[in-house]
Each structure stands twice: as structure tokens, then as C-alpha cells.
């Protein structure tokens, strides 16, 4: 079936087509799901190469479960986020403590600060602050505010209640705000208060 003809199909329909031997369905699913898996893994791991490996592994598990996928039980995107989260957790646990400390905050007198902040600098500052959050807070904040999931979806991904999601997100945002406060001027938000 042509690529364009499948772009409107649901994830579930595409997975059925893939399981039935349609070669184009895998391309459409990859184009749709790989960026989301890679974005989430990159935020969690702060390491592009590791995030790519996690993305490939998560999608490999999707291909393997395709023939046994039960329609209507779970959304494929939610299932994929959960797999990515578990793979990231495994990798974070294997890391030595020094690895997290190695995520250095940008210097205040970096060239970017003198030239004025641009969007990429703000994104980098947020990423550095995210990397210093506890893993569960980071996971909840990334899923809510960068991946755009609802609280019930996050609860399903993380295997916790909605109230716990709200608590993790709130604490994570407070920690981010504190961590980024001293860089307000550098980030183009005026002087520190």
C-alpha cells in the first residue's frame, strides 16, 4: 500500500497491517513513533547515542509484539513510552554516579550569554537543569511538558496514580525554576530578582 495512503491510519491499524506483511506500514509507524521515542529517551539520558540505542530497542520490541497485539487494551504510543522509560531506567541504574555529575551547567560567561540568548541556548539550559532532577521527577516533567501526554497517560506509563503524577510534576517544576532562577538574565528574562 502506498506511503501516503497510510499516513491517516491509526497506530493500531498500521500495526495490524505490519503483522499481515505490509512493508510500508513499518515505515509509517517508524516516521510517527521514532521521533517521540528518541525525544523522550534523549531527555531522560542526556546522551544521543544511548537514546538512539534505546529507540531502536523499543521499536524492535514493538515489531516483535505486533502479531500478539491486543486491540483496544492499550494505546501503542503509551506502551512505547513505557518501554522507553524502562529501558532508560535500566541504563541510568547502570551508570556510575560520576556520570550525572558530569552534566555540567554552562558557564555564566559563555559566549552565548554575551551574544544574547537564543532558543537553542534556552533549550540547552533546560536540558542541563532536567538532567539534575531525580529520575522520576524528570520522567514526569518530560512526559507532561515536552511530550505532551495527559496526566492519566503519564500515570499509565509510570505505573502510578494520577495524584502521584501531579506531585512529581509539581516538585520537578519547582526544582527546575529554582535551578534556572540564577540564569534569568542570561536567558533573556531580565535581571535576577
Amino acid at each position: 500500500m502506498p506511503f501516503d495512503a497510510l499516513t491517516e491510519a491509526s497506530d493500531e491499524a498500521l500495526l495490524v497491517l505490519y503483522a499481515n506483511g505490509d512493508p510500508v506500514a513499518a515505515r509509517v509507524l517508524t516516521a510517527r513513533l521514532a521521533p517521540r521515542a528518541l525525544g523522550f529517551a534523549s531527555r531522560m539520558l542526556a546522551d544521543r547515542a544511548e537514546a538512539e540505542d534505546v529507540t531502536q530497542e523499543a521499536l524492535l520490541r514493538l515489531w516483535r509484539i505486533a502479531p500478539d497485539w491486543r486491540q483496544g487494551e492499550a494505546r501503542i504510543s503509551t506502551w512505547l513510552y513505557r518501554v522507553v522509560a524502562n529501558l532508560c531506567t535500566d541504563r541510568l541504574r547502570r551508570r556510575v554516579p560520576l556520570a550525572l555529575d558530569a552534566v555540567a551547567e554552562p558557564e555564566d560567561d559563555a559566549p552565548g550569554a554575551l551574544a544574547g540568548m537564543i532558543e537553542a541556548d534556552r533549550a540547552a539550559a533546560l536540558q542541563a537543569a532536567l538532567a539534575r532532577l531525580p529520575d522520576r521527577q524528570r520522567e514526569a516533567v518530560v512526559l507532561r511538558h515536552l511530550e505532551g501526554l495527559s496526566n492519566p497517560e503519564i500515570a499509565e506509563v509510570m505505573g502510578i496514580g494520577i495524584e502521584a503524577v501531579e506531585s512529581l510534576t509539581a516538585r520537578g517544576k519547582r526544582a527546575l525554576a529554582v535551578a534556572l532562577a540564577r540564569r534569568r538574565g542570561e536567558l533573556g528574562y531580565g535581571d535576577d530578582r
Partner: protein, 116 residues
């Protein structure tokens, strides 16, 4: 001290981060698709039926040979049902006497052997 209490600045940073989300490289996409093709349950399910008939056709010499074979079979059948006068004349020339079948009672011959 924190960023603005209403969270607008933090939301602005989230927006910037979303705009610079990493995109899969061509190399990563190729790795993922290679996995997908390798793991696909029945990647050639549709062409399989055609291939089986294709094998039969190939064994008989292709569709041209099968066409000729069908025409020859139809002609033979028609000659058998309604032989032309020329064919009947040739048959009589080759075998002029009428054919007859005789049934031999083999059981009687066997009894003679046993008794004798």
C-alpha cells in the same frame, strides 16, 4: 529565589525545548526499518500464491508452452470425438480386418491341469 511565580518563563523554556527536539537520523531510521523487515511475520504473504502457480507454469515450459499444450489437447479430443474422413481412411488402411475379442475360460484350463 525562583523564576516567575506564574510559570510563564518555565513554559517558555519548555516551548524552546520542544522546538529543538531531536530528530532521528537517516542511519537510525535505516537500523529501525532493517529490524522491522527482519521481524515481519510474513513479509511475502501476498505474492506466495502467485509464486506457486508460477512454479507450475515454469515446470511446463512457461505460459507459451502451456498454451500450445492446451490447443493440442483440444484438437486431439475433437479428432477422437468426430474423426475426419481422411483419418478414418488411414485407420482402415493400416488395420483392414475388423477386431474382435475372445474370452478364454482360464478356470477350465486350470481344472484340467489339476485333474490331469
Amino acid at each position: 529565589m525562583a523564576m516567575t511565580d506564574d510559570g510563564h518563563e518555565l513554559d517558555d523554556l519548555f516551548r524552546a525545548a520542544r522546538a529543538s527536539a531531536p530528530q532521528p537520523s537517516a542511519e537510525l531510521t535505516a537500523r529501525i526499518l532493517a529490524d522491522a523487515l527482519r521481524e515481519q511475520p510474513c513479509p511475502v504473504a501476498a505474492p506466495r500464491q502467485r509464486r506457486r502457480w508460477g512454479g507450475v507454469l515454469a515446470a511446463l515450459g512457461g505460459w507459451q508452452a502451456v498454451t500450445g499444450l492446451t490447443a493440442a489437447a483440444a484438437a486431439g479430443l475433437w479428432i477422437g470425438i468426430n474423426p475426419p474422413a481422411a483419418v478414418a481412411g488411414i485407420a482402415e488402411g493400416l488395420w483392414p480386418e475388423p477386431l474382435s475379442l475372445e474370452l478364454i475360460d482360464q478356470m477350465a484350463a486350470l481344472e484340467e491341469l489339476v485333474e490331469g
